[in-house]
């Protein structure tokens, strides 16, 4: 594919970010085969449009932007799960657990299964899921996440806030259902 040493060098540098792209694609598509297709297409597109990459800027954010734009193009016909989280209400897991007499860290976090955490992330609406993937999983700054998503920093912050509320609610519901805590339901939230 690469036709010159410069293109090969560009491809090599881009491939150093492969794990980030694969993790993101896997959590967005929730399917390993679709994730590989998406990542491959993203890399081919990145090489085709490498002239639009500005040296010295964040290549990882640039690559993630290509991948997530392809994801939205490909799945724009099935955005039914892109529901709004505007109405989820305030939910602070720490306060909820403490009010119920549990020790939030020792009684709950230490007992949550990784598979349940992944499930909670993967059931977030994609617009909110991708912010959690960038900031919490990949450690992006708000600024770099905003660049990757093509939105203002304020939008990153508000989506992240709502995503975390929903994530904490899902984890709480799982903790109650699995008997980790004896709760009274996530609907009765502190205001």
């Amino acid at each position: 594919m690469a036709e010159s040493p410069a293109q090969t060098a560009f491809a090599e540098e881009a491939l150093t970010h492969l794990d980030t792209l694969y993790r993101g694609a896997l959590r967005l598509t929730r399917d390993p085969d679709q994730a590989q297709d998406l990542v491959q297409e993203a890399y081919l597109r990145a090489l085709r449009y490498q002239h639009s990459y500005q040296q010295g800027t964040n290549m990882k954010a640039w690559l993630f932007a290509i991948m997530r734009n392809l994801f939205w193009d490909r799945f724009k016909g099935s955005r039914k799960d892109d529901v709004s989280l505007d109405d989820v209400g305030e939910f602070v897991l720490y306060e909820k657990l403490r009010d119920e007499g549990a020790r939030p860290e020792a009684d709950v976090l230490d007992k949550l299964a990784a598979s349940e955490v992944v499930k909670a992330v993967e059931t977030l609406p994609p617009l909110h899921r991708e912010v959690v993937l960038l900031v919490d999983v990949e450690g992006f700054s708000y600024k770099d996440a905003a660049q990757a998503l093509g939105v203002p920093i304020g939008t990153v912050m508000s989506r992240l806030h709502r995503a975390r509320q929903q994530l904490q609610r899902s984890l709480y519901d799982y903790a109650v259902e699995s008997g980790i805590v004896r709760g009274n339901g996530s609907q009765q939230v502190r205001q």
């Binding site: 594919m1 690469a2 090969t8 491809a11 090599e12 881009a14 491939l15 492969l18 794990d19 694969y22 993790r23 896997l26 959590r27 390993p32 590989q36 990542v39 491959q40 890399y43 081919l44 090489l47 602070v92 897991l93 720490y94 306060e95 939030p104 860290e105 976090l109 949550l112 990784a114 598979s115 955490v117 992944v118 992330v121 959690v132 993937l133 900031v135 919490d136 999983v137 450690g139 700054s141 708000y142 912050m157 992240l160 806030h161 975390r164 994530l167 904490q168």
Partner: protein
């Protein structure tokens, strides 16, 4: 800083998005408030839990296939 201010800034503190002045103010509050300190440790723990749970490496065969395709 009071507990309400601290709670509102906790996300940005965990995400290392506060200014150095805000960090100092918040750290001073945490040192004097065990409950907010517990809350902070909970949020930091939860963030690590999400990161570790979602961590996975690219399958080696796919990595190699992509390398051959691109370089």
């Amino acid at each position: 800083m009071n507990c309400k201010d601290c709670s509102e800034k906790l996300d940005r503190f965990v995400d290392r998005e506060l200014s150095s002045t805000e960090v100092l103010e918040l750290q001073l509050h945490l040192e004097s408030c065990p409950d907010c300190q517990d809350h902070y440790e909970f949020e930091a723990h939860l963030k690590r839990l999400v990161r570790h749970s979602c961590d996975c490496d690219t399958p080696p065969a796919f990595r190699e296939k992509l390398r051959q395709l691109l370089t």
